[in-house]
Amino acid sequence: MRDDALSGGFADTPVEAARAFRAALEAMARPGSIHAVSGAAAPEPLSVAAAVLLLTLCDRETPLYLAPGHDTEALRNWLAFHVGAPLVGPREAMFAIGGWDALAPHDAYAIGTAEYPDRSVTLIVERTELSNAGTRLTGPGIETEAHLSLPETEAFQRNARRFPLGWDCYFTCGDRLAALPRTTRTEAL
């Protein structure tokens, strides 16, 4: 148990976090683009990509919500050692992690305020499948159109209608990640 919690972080944090962030930045700037990341190994069920995102973006200043399925003792211990983020409920969270259904209800999260729309949650959605197929994406960051295998489209359409309020999403699957900011318009095919 303790060995599990102590290992699996970045070996060379400044450089590995920099590379991981560039992947996260490119993903958010170009919705639907899929990027591979590496350098982290967290206890099940956290994927490599989700672990990399947490190591790169979260610290003691970012309240984190673990959705059912991800709220395990092994993972809590790992996060306490490597990230140090306070664990909170959905409403107070700056980051939330879990499967799409486990994160429900998706209206429970902070979507920012009219004056500070940036004070909103970033959802890290663990997926068993991530590919450039399915839902059609258009909007900022996309030249013509992109495609991404989303769990559904209705919740994302509702989220986009609230712009400039809303939450933003990362999707993680194994060592790959993609992102969907609130500006992206989604259309089921």
């Binding site: 930045l25 729309p117 933003d168 500006t183």
Partner: protein, 292 residues
């Protein structure tokens, strides 16, 4: 590319990791809300405010060891500011630097967009002095924040209208306000309005204002419209000359006083663009005299 090492006395890219995480979170929210100014806890940097502390912090948060960095000041690679920032990152991040736009993966700029079209995979980082486009019209931050929230941009149109009433044309020549993706009015930093059409780009554009503690962004392929009126459409303008060194008639020009008898010349503000054209054999009005 791994031949260069950063000075081990510094953390990679100077900033500590917690600061970088804070800036990175702000950058991601800035991309998610194009044109909106995200507050961030700007740090003291080892250079004075006004020398690009905001841009330097954004660059530091984005750099990887594999990057190749270009820094320009008003289009020039060889000014004190640009040289100093390049040296700063050569030492603290060990990254390679370049003066060629096409070879750079990260470009930090003060007040210009390079002439060569930017591509996917490139990041343009702007140094921003005053990020708030409404600041000179309304000094209170509480009020300008409310105006952005309510999309209340009447005041800035009044300013442009007064330009026309007084001068017959919109006289704002730099830091010309734009509307991003139909929502937020944004200050593109003091770039000449000649550069405004290039804000719609394939590259990622990030803006850092160190003293004012704001970060904002324009994702690739995002709609950026310069504010104007139907009967006074926006016009990107430049000096009505050709470059005296490379002969280019379409690039943005600097006017250089050459003597105390009224002599002057016009040269490309983008030094890399001008040098590349001269290397290709293009010649301007004064290149003969300058040839050594």
């Amino acid at each position: 590319m791994t031949a260069m090492q950063h000075d081990p006395a510094y953390n990679f890219a100077y900033l500590d990791e917690q600061t970088k995480r804070m800036i990175r979170r702000a950058l991601l929210k800035a991309l998610a809300i194009p044109g909106y100014q995200v507050p961030f806890a700007s740090r003291e940097m080892p250079m004075p405010y006004g020398w690009g502390t905001g841009g330097v912090q954004v660059t530091a948060a984005c750099l990887t060891p594999e990057d190749r960095l270009k820094v320009i000041d008003q289009g020039a690679d060889d000014t004190t500011n640009a040289v100093s920032i390049r040296k700063f990152f050569e030492r603290t991040a060990g990254v390679e630097t370049t003066e060629h736009t096409v070879q750079a993966s990260v470009i930090q700029t003060r007040h210009r967009i390079p002439e060569a079209p930017l591509t996917e995979g490139q990041i343009l980082v702007y140094q921003v002095p005053i990020p708030e486009p409404l600041r000179f019209l309304e000094p209170r931050e509480t009020e300008t924040r409310k105006m952005h929230a309510l999309e209340e941009y009447g005041l800035i149109y009044v300013k442009l209208y007064e330009d026309i009433a007084h001068n017959g044309a919109i006289s704002t020549a730099y830091a010309y306000p734009v509307k991003v993706e139909g929502r937020y009015v944004m200050d593109p930093s003091p770039i000449p309005k000649f550069d405004n059409p290039k804000l719609e780009s394939a590259a990622i554009q990030l803006f850092g204002a160190g003293r004012e503690q704001r970060i904002y962004a324009i994702p690739p392929y995002t709609q950026v419209v310069s504010l104007d009126f139907e009967d006074h459409p926006f016009e990107p303008s430049k000096a009505d000359h050709d470059c005296d060194l490379c002969g280019c008639g379409t690039s943005y020009l600097d006017e250089v006083i050459t003597d105390d008898a009224g002599g002057r010349m016009f040269v490309c503000s983008d030094t890399d663009f001008c040098a590349a054209r001269q290397a290709e054999g293009h010649r301007g009005r004064l290149s003969g005299e300058d040839a050594a």
